[in-house]
């Protein structure tokens, strides 16, 4: 097998497995911050115990985020050394800044959250929760700056075949940074809040620890209700930006074979690249043009205007993008029902809805994965959009056999870690808030 394909599969595996955890970290750190703020304000014991409990869940998730994140820090040099040489002048800085500004802050203060409840003052503990929240979000900002530069490079010039930085601010706050950041952060809050809402629901269904579960459910469901709706706005802004800055990607998202005015928005279908048509398609006329330009008559660029050797894979891009939108719409529907149950105060007895919350825990994580796939596969064949092709980015000194070996080994290790993770998560939940909250306040 060829080095580029193997490297791509391995990077997809590494990044894809890693991307299960950080969004949960972000969302959960928000919940902890709210719980700690309430505890600081009115000294509620229940909020303190809940927070300590959620911190232990975060600790488990964070350890997997760290374990899988180290791999990515190494991966660019190991598998993508040609890429690293060509764009290191720009791409390395956000990675280093992420370490300096965010990773240190996050790990040091998470140590305080996990082990330091009895060692620091109430205010210092609250401040630690704030720092973990702040640092995890700052970390995602830096990494998304790096990713955004690959999507919409700016602030550089090509000198002797290498990208050289000419304006740091333009490179960092490039044409997709803000939209991508907002969209990803809100996705993370949806993931974290639904995750904890699902867990709270389990206690209510099982009729145990109900006092804790009610508090946690109403808090997390409120976050979910707001974020699931807000996500339509950030998603829209992000799509408009893609249409304007990466038109080939938008054309692939929608399988828009011909550029046209009154471009339709495709709802479902199966794109067929060979015959340049989408089978079983259901679409809304003019909607795509309208959503992008607020003017149905405006023209949207189609795949016919993209040179053949710059065309992204259509089928995967289309399906992952539409899976994301489908899931997002489902979340909005859930949020609407959740909102009604919250304001009518019926949420505590709505067992059917609690079941839905419980079984939909994985869905935001899947939405994150497919959204990320749409963004990355839609950028192909480019590693850095219109600057460096993926085929030219891979390492030249690494034999395919070694990558195959590492790929198989990573797969097995991740499978093992995931199984253990789920088992331990279930154990934490079964042990319940009161028991788990006490663990580790005196150490392991």
């Amino acid at each position: 097998m060829d080095v580029v394909l193997l490297s791509r599969i391995q990077f997809a595996l590494n990044a894809g497995f890693h991307f299960i955890f950080p969004p949960l970290t972000l969302g959960i750190s928000l919940v902890i911050l709210v719980l700690e703020t309430i505890y600081l304000k009115n000294g509620s014991e229940q909020h303190r115990i809940l927070s300590s409990y959620v911190v232990k869940i975060l600790a488990l998730i964070f350890s997997l985020g760290v374990a899988t994140g180290i791999v990515l820090e190494f991966a660019f040099g190991m598998n993508w050394s040609a890429y690293s040489r060509m764009v290191g002048d720009i791409f390395g800085a956000p990675l280093a800044a992420e370490g300096v500004f965010a990773f240190f802050l996050e790990s040091v203060f998470l140590g305080v959250l996990i082990f330091g409840r009895n060692k620091v003052s109430k205010k210092a503990y609250w401040f630690s929760a704030l720092m973990v929240f702040f640092a995890s979000h700052l970390s995602s900002l830096w990494i998304l700056i790096a990713n955004s530069w690959m999507q919409t490079p700016a602030g550089y010039e090509i000198v002797e075949g290498r990208a050289v930085l000419v304006n740091f601010l333009e490179a960092a706050v490039n044409h997709s940074t803000l939209e991508r950041f907002l969209h990803t952060i809100v996705a993370a809050w949806i993931s974290g809040s639904l995750f904890l809402a699902g867990i709270s629901s389990w206690y209510l269904i099982k009729k145990r620890d109900q006092n804790y579960a009610r508090i946690l459910l109403s808090l997390t469901l409120s976050i979910f209700v707001v974020t699931a709706v807000v996500q339509f706005g950030t998603g829209h802004a992000h799509s408009v930006q893609v249409a304007k800055t990466q038109p080939a990607k938008m054309a692939a998202f929608e399988a828009l074979w011909q550029g046209q005015e009154n471009a339709p928005m495709s709802l479902i279908g199966i794109p067929d690249k060979k015959n340049k048509t989408t089978h079983f398609e259901l679409s809304v006329p003019s909607l795509l043009s309208f959503l992008i330009y607020f003017d149905a008559g405006k023209k949207v660029q189609g795949l016919d205007e993209v040179p053949d050797d710059e065309e992204p894979p259509i089928l995967l891009t289309y399906l992952s993008y539409h899976a994301m939108i489908g899931l997002g719409s489902f979340f909005a529907l859930m949020a609407l029902i959740g909102f009604i149950l919250l304001v009518t105060k019926k949420i505590g007895n709505a067992t059917w809805y609690q079941w839905i919350l419980l079984i939909t825990i994985p869905l935001p994580l899947i939405a994150n994965e497919v959204g990320w796939m749409a963004a990355e596969i839609g950028r192909q064949p480019w590693a850095v959009y219109q600057v460096l092709k993926t085929v030219d980015a891979a390492s030249r000194s690494v034999p395919a056999g070694q990558i195959l070996f590492s790929l198989i080994a990573f797969s097995l290790i991740y499978l093992l870690l995931f199984v253990v993770f789920i088992r331990l998560l279930v154990k934490i939940v079964k042990d319940g808030p009161e028991k788990i909250a006490q663990t580790r306040e005196a150490g392991y």
Partner: protein
């Protein structure tokens, strides 16, 4: 001197500072992991040792991530050459670091499989402790590179005598960080065991240092003439004597500090020998140096600002958290 040249030198030093930070801080938790089977006789010992590093090990490892990121940003060719060239070795390091990162958490929660997670923490610490030194020994000895800065050797190129010696030397330095730290944080039998172990490792450290010293002097004729290498060698030897004295007098904190200084001395020797090269090639004309491997002036400047703003804060709250968790583990 031109601004770019100054910045390149500054970043040569700063990468060194990050590696020193990693060695001293993650050094002690890597060292405790590497010696876990000898140090911990029962579950209570393991628990105490894990508690001594639990709140801080993760922050310590960030020094490695930041060092990697800074190397990528400041000297992208070095990052690209070494990480792709040492692919298999780094894959092993990654497997180790992955398991290491989850071991404490899994050990704490998965009470029926504690032996497994203790073992993964041990192996996950042992492998990097050894392999980082082997990798470093290779970039000092010189590796086969072509005109495009690409590594042309194989996995077995890495296993030459001098790199193996520096690998073991690095492991000793890390282990001594571990035992001297454990002595500070524990009491009773466990502490006594850590102290005894410090003495044994100290012997190994001294012998390997001599060996690596002699081998470097034979292979590298610049060594004799390199004033910096001599000065830092004196620092390392001097602080190793201080380690021994401190252990004898039972001055545990001093032993840990002296061990840390000896580690800095080792990095000083490496830096003096390498400068201005970061990676030596078998053909010296193909060396990756601070000049041909560096980023642009603007990137180095931006990075310097990031470091000057960020690192003092990091040192500040890191010092605070060590104060919060100071004292013996109960």
């Amino acid at each position: 001197m031109e601004t770019l040249e100054i910045l390149q030198i500054v970043w040569f030093v700063l990468i060194g500072v990050l590696l020193v930070g990693y060695s001293l801080l993650d050094g002690f938790d890597l060292g405790i992991g590497t010696l876990l089977p000898v140090l911990a006789r029962n579950e209570e010992d393991t628990s105490r040792l894990f508690n001594s590093i639990g709140p801080v090990w993760d922050g310590n490892e960030v020094w490695l991530l930041t060092g990697g990121g800074a190397l990528f940003a400041a000297f992208p060719h070095v990052y690209a050459t070494v990480f792709s060239g040492f692919y298999l070795a780094l894959v092993l390091v990654l497997f180790a670091l992955i398991f290491r990162a989850v071991s404490l958490e899994f050990w704490s929660l998965d009470t029926s499989n504690r032996k497994i997670w203790k073992a993964t923490f041990f192996i996950g610490s042992l492998l990097p402790s050894l392999l980082f030194g082997v990798a470093l020994g290779n970039v000092i000895t010189g590796i086969p590179l072509n005109g495009q800065m690409e590594f042309t050797g194989s996995f077995f190129t890495l296993l030459r005598p001098l790199p193996l010696a520096t690998g073991l030397l690095g492991m000793c330095a890390i282990a001594l960080q571990g035992t001297t730290y454990a002595t500070v944080k524990t009491e009773g039998d466990l502490q006594a065991r850590a102290r005894e172990l410090s003495v044994k490792i100290w012997m190994g450290y001294l012998i390997l240092l001599f060996l690596a010293f002699a081998m470097t002097a034979i292979f590298n004729n610049e060594f004799i003439k390199n004033a910096g290498a001599w000065i830092f060698s004196l620092v390392t030897y001097g602080s190793l004597i201080a380690v021994r004295t401190a252990i004898r007098k039972g001055e545990d904190k001093k032993a840990f500090i002296a061990s840390s200084v000896s580690f800095m001395g080792l990095w000083g020797i490496v830096g003096s020998l390498q400068y201005p090269a970061l990676v030596r090639a078998l053909d010296p004309a193909l060396n990756l140096t601070i000049r041909n491997a560096s980023s642009s002036q603007l990137t180095l400047t931006v990075m310097l600002v990031i470091a000057l703003v960020g690192m003092p804060l990091v040192l500040l709250y890191t010092a605070w958290v060590y104060r919060v968790f100071k004292g013996k583990i109960q």
